[in-house]
């Protein structure tokens, strides 16, 4: 069914918007580049799958547990990253991704390479969300929740503190900001939000496999953040939408999706390092100029 197919694409897009926004907290706000975000999606997915399958925990409890547990694991995995910076941090987060996937793959409890199947569809208040419009609404609600968290963070002291450690960690420390505390904080929130997506992801597909959470998935998520405009609210949203939809619309690149992502990353780094809609990007500057001049002419019309 064509509309079912379309709804599936939209549901995934909503989930990837949440993922890109959550990664943006760590990488865009706090400046800690991570190539391991798929690991947190996986931890959330497996947590929720194991709890509902093996322990018959209701979905909403498993969903909350996925958020909390992934947040905790993210905090713990963030600890070693305090000792490494920049390029070494990127390598460390890659390593985390590989380790987490291996655990899913080689520990029988997690179903091994065969994964976990027959994960029940979520039910909330007596309504069962079996794909389609209800599930799209569920994932969209979660994307809005993530957006709200990001917006709230950018307005608070923590948002300002994140910016200072991204720009100049030493200078931040000399003003009394404890960089370690904020990095751990960013790791925790970022992972927790991705864990929630993981739960939604597992119950949407009904099955999880280690291969769903491999390193290239992390590259995809980072591409969305960078392509859209790192450190902004609009950027990761637009990045996730475009990078999910373009390959769907142009079916012939579907098989070469990661080639496409990779090429796009190289081009962005060369010509628009701030992303499509970053603060200093060509498109954003033109858009804001256009908005301003049309606002001005609207005012003159009123006179």
């Amino acid at each position: 069914m064509a509309s079912g197919y379309f709804l599936t694409i939209l549901t995934f897009t909503a989930m990837y918007i949440s993922l890109a926004l959550s990664l943006n907290i760590l990488t865009g706000y706090a400046g800690q580049v991570s190539l391991g975000h798929a690991a947190f999606l996986g931890i959330g997915a497996y947590t929720s799958a194991v709890l509902t399958l093996r322990y018959e925990v209701p979905f909403w409890l498993a969903f909350l547990a996925a958020i909390v547990l992934t947040g905790l694991i993210g905090t713990i995995l963030g600890l070693p990253s305090l000792r490494v910076r920049h390029d070494f941090l990127v390598l460390a987060t890659m390593g985390i991704n590989f380790v987490v996937v291996s655990v899913f793959k080689y520990v029988d409890f997690f179903g091994g390479a065969m994964g976990l199947v027959n994960i029940p569809a979520p039910s909330l208040f007596g309504i069962t969300f079996r794909g389609g419009v209800p599930y799209l609404l569920l994932t969209t609600a979660y994307a809005l929740f993530t957006l709200w968290i990001c917006w709230y963070l950018s307005k608070t002291w923590s948002g300002l503190a994140f910016q200072t450690i991204r720009n100049d960690e030493e200078a931040a420390a000399s003003l009394g900001v404890n960089p370690a505390r904020y990095k751990i904080y960013a790791f925790g929130i970022s992972a927790a939000l991705a864990g929630g997506v993981g739960s939604l992801y597992a119950h949407f597909l009904g099955s999880v496999f280690p291969d769903n959470f491999v390193f290239v998935e992390s590259i995809g998520m980072l591409s969305m953040v960078i392509f859209g405009g790192i450190g902004t609210l609009r950027g990761p949203i637009v990045g996730a939408i475009l990078l999910r939809l373009i390959p769907e619309l142009l079916r012939f690149i579907q098989d070469y999706r990661f080639t496409f992502y990779g090429a796009l990353l190289v081009l962005m780094m060369l010509f628009q390092p701030m992303g499509l809609l970053g603060n200093d990007s060509w498109l954003w500057q033109h858009l804001t100029r256009w908005f301003r001049s049309s606002a001005r002419s609207a005012k003159e019309d009123v006179r």
């Binding site: 720009n167 030493e170 420390a173 000399s174 003003l175 009394g176 900001v177 603060n279």
Partner: protein, 233 residues
Amino acid sequence: MLTIENLYVRYGQIEVLHGVSLDVGESEIVAVLGANGAGKSTLIKTIIGWARPAKGECRLNGEVINALPAWERVKRGLAIVPESGRLFRELSVEDNLRLGAYLREEQETKKQMEVVFNLFPILAERRKQIAKTLSGGEQQMLAIGRAMMSNPRLLLIDEVSMGLMPILVKRVFQVIQELPQHQVSVLLVEQNAFEALKIVHRAYVLENGHIVLEGKAQELADNPLVKAAYLGG
């Protein structure tokens, strides 16, 4: 206030400071003069906590602060105006100042911002402006203002005159000279010995990681060696 005793600092294999001792008293302005590469900046970085001493002691009001991270030192009354300012360039003047008062209460922040705006009225005019759009002199003032926001007891200032027009150097030094009235002591690291010696109480001369001379500002200004090496004859 601040006592440095027999301080050794190394970067890898290279030793930059070889047993430096100095002290700064209450409401005193002290300068460390020296040429490029003498180790002045290293000294300041070690005091704020960006570099770790291999040997020796830094004491702030009697407490050994060697092992404390920078943000803990700030809690104890230290603040720094780093070389070239190191402002948060994408943030507004106001946000830069607010960050300077990161450890303070809202009420105190407001009061302290008035103090800073009194010192540098231009910053009040530019409060909504993004830091990177300020002129060099204004950025330097903002860096001092930001450090003042924490209401420090001891202000460390690293090469504040560098790259400033002479008239601005005078203005900035005038502000520094008034700091003891606000119960702030100052440790100033400078290449511009001529201007520095006009406003400080005492000074040390640092050469190749050793303190080679120390004394009252006037004594040093009259010292033939200082005259020859740092005051252009």
